[in-house]
Subunit: 293 residues, 2 copies
């Protein structure tokens, strides 16, 4: 049976470090501030922002959530973003995805000051990540996965990593992070996706397999090398008449099958998810530290 990587416990360790950084900043008279903007009433977004804001408060951040109606004109959102960019009490600004389809999301994310873009979605931060420039912010989910692996003691140097999915939030930045010539990276990375001819063959040669394509239980036991490390990023709702409400959440990994083969596996929930919040707050602490230099 695979060793289950306890994302909640590892996130708690990161949170404790962040709380200490926040306390150090407050001792210098700086209260790190994180503004959340949520547009519309997407139920999942309400839950996510609520969890993030609660944890921010626990760690001593100053935080606030602004909720705009779904019909808000994009220009009004951009005005608010400009005000938060200019307001020194806010060190981080998170605009919860997804935005209403009437808005041009890339334009909105690019309007956030790169220095306050603790989600790591601004092109400047994406570029710095690719260039290996540590002054930028890495997106929270791939950064959290890297931390999970490092704190679990998984050897990264020289590892064969296969990333499934080329999204801008997980897959591509995950590859960027792990391919760098740096400590806790230096992996050989293959990025697979819907256009890949033989995904299973790539999966089977991976030391570390990171599934982030959003296909329910795509990774089967037969696709995993015995002893490999498997990270499940997917959150997919599937129909299940036997479940309460007629559906349940599953990952991109067939948990039972893969746990019989893998050496390490992230459970889902309780694996990657808690790390995303942990890295968001660590990024915000750094934004505040950098603003105070």
């Amino acid at each position: 049976m695979a060793h289950l990587i306890d994302g909640r416990a590892i996130a708690a360790g990161v949170h404790a470090e962040t709380a200490a950084r926040v306390a150090a900043l407050r001792a210098r008279g700086i209260r790190p501030g994180l503004m959340f903007i949520r547009v519309g009433e997407d139920p999942a977004s309400q839950v996510y922002v609520g969890m993030k804001e609660k944890k921010a408060a626990e760690l001593g951040f100053h935080s606030e959530t602004r909720v705009l109606p779904a019909a808000t004109p994009e220009a009004d959102l951009l005005d608010l973003v400009a005000r938060v960019n200019a307001d020194p009490q806010w060190h981080g600004l998170l605009i919860q995805a997804p935005l209403p389809t009437a808005m041009h999301a890339p334009r909105v994310y690019a309007a956030v000051s790169p220095a306050k873009d603790v989600d790591g979605f601004h092109p400047v931060n994406v570029g710095k990540l690719s260039l290996g420039d540590p002054s930028g912010f890495a997106p929270c989910t791939p950064a959290g996965i890297q931390e999970l692996l490092v704190r679990t003691g998984v050897p990264l140097e020289g590892a064969e990593v296969v990333v499934l999915g080329r999204g801008n939030i997980v897959g591509k930045p995950m590859a960027s992070l792990l391919v760098q010539k740096s400590c806790h990276a230096n992996c050989t990375v293959t990025l697979c996706h819907s256009g890949t001819r033989d995904v299973a063959a790539h999966c089977r040669r991976a030391d570390i397999l990171i599934a982030a394509m959003g296909v329910p239980e795509f990774v089967r036991g037969s696709m995993v090398r015995p002893g490999a490390v498997v990270v499940d990023v997917g959150v997919n709702r599937i129909a299940d008449p036997a479940a309460r409400g007629g559906s349940r959440l599953v990952g991109d990994v067939a948990f039972e099958e893969v746990s019989a083969v893998a050496g390490h596996l992230t459970p889902n929930p309780g694996g990657v998810g808690p790390m995303t919040i942990a890295m968001l707050l660590a990024n915000t602490a750094r934004a505040a530290e950098q603003s105070a230099v």
Copy 2:
């Protein structure tokens, strides 16, 4: 014997298209302008800038080269960059690498306006490349390699691509370009480097092998799958007592051995090099077109 990909002929085709775009701009009263800045007297930089400026003039661009002494303070270079950024007669600005070691090169490249960064080195353009946002400029060498492959009729959709080298100028942006879910891309890309455990095994499974690590004749015949497409980006000077001057240039690919195995191979010189200039001038034409919208 491998079919040799004629980079000079393909570049000539791109140049003809660019010349037509320049003529169309001039017919609208816009003369596309490209400023070169060279710092110090690096002999290779003199040759490169000279070749680029000559070709720019041939195609109808307005161009100029400013040469600064190697001892120029970085602040003076940044002042010049700011003046070119603000001057509407210049649509593109190229600062020839390498810069003197006393300068902080990333800071200098990040000072170029992203809209004039026809070399594609600014973090905003690197980020847009990774995000798949076509409004940015891709670095010229990887963009030129993509054009070489497309115009040679090499199937890219679903191809297994192995890139050797993770530099910011070729390797990483090459991977970013080819992994996108877009026309002329959608490849499965593996990025190999000095930390890769078994480079030869990766090379042997590649449909397209792109060698850009700067190691003389690293890719041997035994490392290439019969019929594969091999692109040689390397320019390495090696000692050779029999050669004029006691040295000669070789690529990252052992040409004789690999040409006996590969299906397609770029010669060196005459392969990738001409495409780099072609894409620089195509980028500059686009910068002028976008400035005129």
